[in-house]
């Protein structure tokens, strides 16, 4: 029967559609998994680090107790390493041996001695950082940075139990550095946090106020139409344009200090403002008009109706929109390049007007460097950035659930 055939065809179409959908989801998931796996594998070496534990004699001849800051701590550390290999004597060999140490190998020692000057003249056992090539070799990666002799020394140290493997706290606790084994993301992380604080503090009140006015109070005429169209257009403006605007206005006209979280936050606030306004307006619009009518019906003024009833009901939507906007700002690189946040900054920023960089810019900076260890740090930073973004989205979902009301 033709009717029967028609029914069969309809079911077939439905099955086909389901198959297409499943295929689409499968492909996306595969790509995502591939991406995350690739990044995770590349990032692995960064999270663990090998350190040599050496006993260093703090020689009063090299460290002046009256002025311990000027002491040659690296020389002491090199001596301690040489003590492990008494047969290495020639000047060239000694130099090669010292080559497995990091430029910051003596930092830990220096800190301990400065904190406790009574250590001068005594033996101190401290962890000593190896350079990135040595670390990579010990992790089993092929590296062109080391000679065969250096590799043999490392093997010997490993056999003696001098070298141990641990979590790379350096990566989380240090600022940027020219030496990959010393470079960390604390500076970029703090920079990101400070920048986002400025962005939120500016964009949230401005955006919500603008949305409230446009949605609830503004007269509907050609002027508000023009404003509305322009807000929608602003949301589509390429982000680098906002960077140029920030450069021209904030830096050149108002003289805000460049490379700082303050100016970065200002620029990103401009960037997310249209997103927040649009999301907030949508949230306000979705509140049933019957609620507002009910409030007006018992004699609430327009403003009371909006602030007591409409706004509280719109808050989950506003928060979701805001957090998505902020998540976008957190991952934004291009506009920040224009306002100098791409500078190489070693110090961890302490305030809104200290020079700083942010996580995505740090990724950009490190991805450009040739050292293998920096490539790995790039991947690790990406993972951290993704974790922060996931945390933001989780917060958005939590807040939405928390404030959501049903009726």
């Amino acid at each position: 029967m033709s009717n029967n055939a028609l029914v069969k065809k309809r079911y077939a179409a439905e099955r086909r559609f389901k198959a297409y959908g499943l295929a689409a989801i499968g492909v996306t998931t595969a790509f995502l998994l591939f991406l995350i796996l690739d990044i995770a594998i590349k990032a692995m070496p960064t999270f663990f680090v090998h350190e040599a534990t050496l006993t260093v004699n703090v020689d009063p001849a090299l460290i002046d107790a009256a002025n311990p800051v000027a002491g040659d701590y690296l020389g002491l550390t090199k001596k301690a390493l040489a003590a492990q290999f008494p047969d290495v004597t020639s000047r060239g060999d000694r130099k090669a041996l010292n080559g497995i140490l990091s430029a910051g190998a003596a930092d830990g020692l220096q800190q301990r001695v400065l904190a406790d000057p009574s250590l001068i003249g005594k033996d101190v056992t401290v962890p000593v950082a190896l350079n990135s090539g040595a670390d990579l070799y010990l992790k089993g990666y092929a590296t062109a940075q080391l000679s065969d002799r250096q590799k043999a020394w490392l093997d010997a140290l490993l056999e003696k139990g001098v070298i141990s493997k641990g979590f790379a706290w350096n990566f989380l606790l240090n600022g940027d550095s020219r030496e990959p084994e010393l470079a960390g993301i604390k500076g970029a992380l703090i920079g990101s946090v400070l920048t986002i604080i400025v962005t939120l503090a500016l964009a949230l009140p401005l955006g919500v106020a603008a949305a409230l006015y446009l949605e609830e109070f503004a007269p509907k005429n050609w002027l508000t139409d023009v404003i509305e169209i322009n807000i929608n257009n602003l949301a589509a403006v390429p982000s680098i344009i906002f960077g140029l605007l920030g450069l021209a206005v904030f830096l050149n006209i108002f003289g805000v200090p460049r490379s700082t979280p303050l100016v970065g936050g200002l620029v990103l606030a401009l960037l997310v403002l249209p997103t927040i306004i649009i999301a907030s307006r949508a949230a306000l619009k979705s509140v049933p008009p019957s609620i507002k009518e009910a409030a007006l019906g018992v004699g609430a003024s327009h403003q009371q109706a909006v602030f007591h009833h409409v706004l509280p009901l719109a808050i989950p939507g506003i928060l979701t929109g805001t957090i998505l906007g902020v998540a976008r700002a957190l991952g934004e690189t291009a506009p920040l390049l224009m306002i100098g946040m791409i500078a190489f900054i070693v110090d961890v920023p302490k305030g809104f007007t200290d020079a700083a960089t942010v996580l995505p810019v740090q990724v950009f900076l490190w991805s450009d460097l040739p050292e293998q260890a920096f490539q790995s740090r790039t991947a690790a930073t990406i993972i951290l950035l993704l974790l922060v973004l996931f945390a933001f989205n989780a917060l958005a979902i939590y807040l939405r659930k928390r404030f959501e009301r049903r009726w």
Binding site: I291, E293, A294, A295, G297, V298, G299, A300, W407
Partner: protein, 272 residues
């Protein structure tokens, strides 16, 4: 202007109910425009105090629009223009010196779909008194809330769950909560815009009973699609058609011997 002159309504004799009780709301030559479209033509009517007046008529006839004129709810609709004179107790509601917020406190409204605030039952009723500063302190506020709920016939059902959301009640209970909310600000007039259209017959009967009790103290105006409901609860009935007030009179007279052909057709179910 011709628009402004009161129009004589086709009634054999002035409604008895108007003669018995003082008119609370008087409309003279009211026209309402939505943009270019005229929704109400030159309407004049007197609405008695301490009685129930029902507006009936087919959909789109302007009865809800006129109802919303009485507490100036149409102000909130963009492009809506009201001309003519409406007085409450002899005071023009479009008077510049009259605050629309004060007017709405005196003229309460109950909507077609129950629309409690998504807050607790207590907060729903307490909101009005709170914004108008009607309660001296917390106990006074509680007294007002309980009294309003009692008047709305809801107190016994909700007294154990005052802090639970008003949206969790059944449809009929929600509508009575909305009535309690309207009563709480001590209005003189209660406007009801098809208050039972979303309710089942039992809840409807409960609301009608309530309307009957409330008319001892309030001037009640109800818009309804149900002729039976108009016949059951109202003292005065006004029939609207295409933005015109066709006929107004005592309910018992109107339903037994309508004067206008259109009224008769509508009441007997021949159109509408």
């Amino acid at each position: 202007m011709n628009d402004m002159t009161p129009r004589t309504i086709f009634t054999p004799a002035p409604p008895r109910i108007i003669a018995e009780r003082p008119a609370k709301v008087v409309a003279e030559g009211v026209n309402v425009h939505y943009g270019e479209k005229r929704a109400i033509h030159d309407l004049s009517i007197s609405i008695p105090d301490k009685a129930v007046s029902a507006f009936i008529g087919p959909s789109g006839c302007g009865k809800s629009t006129f109802l919303r004129c009485i507490n100036r709810m149409n102000d909130t609709i963009a492009g809506c223009r009201v001309t003519g004179r409406i007085t409450v107790d002899g005071h023009d509601i479009h008077d510049r010196n009259l605050d629309v917020v004060q007017l709405r406190a005196r003229v309460g409204m109950v909507f077609q779909k129950p629309n409690p605030f998504p807050k607790s039952i207590f907060e729903n009723v307490a909101y009005g008194p709170r914004i108008h500063g009607l309660a001296k302190d917390k106990t006074d506020l509680e007294r007002i809330v309980v009294e309003s709920l009692k008047k709305a016939g809801l107190f016994e059902e909700v007294k154990d769950r005052m802090l639970q959301p008003g949206t969790g009640l059944s449809g009929g209970q929600q509508q009575r909560l909305c009535i309690a909310r309207a009563i709480a600000v001590n209005p003189e007039i209660i406007l009801m815009d098809e208050p039972c259209s979303a309710l089942d017959p039992i809840a409807t009967a409960r609301i009608e009973e309530l309307i009957h009790e409330l008319k001892q103290n309030y001037c009640i105006v109800i818009v309804t699609h149900s002729m039976q409901q108009a016949a059951r609860v109202s003292d005065l009935t006004a029939f609207f058609h295409l933005g015109n007030l066709i006929e107004v009179g005592d309910t018992d007279v109107m339903f037994t011997s309508p004067q206008d052909k259109k009224t008769q057709d509508y009441i007997t179910g021949r159109f509408g």
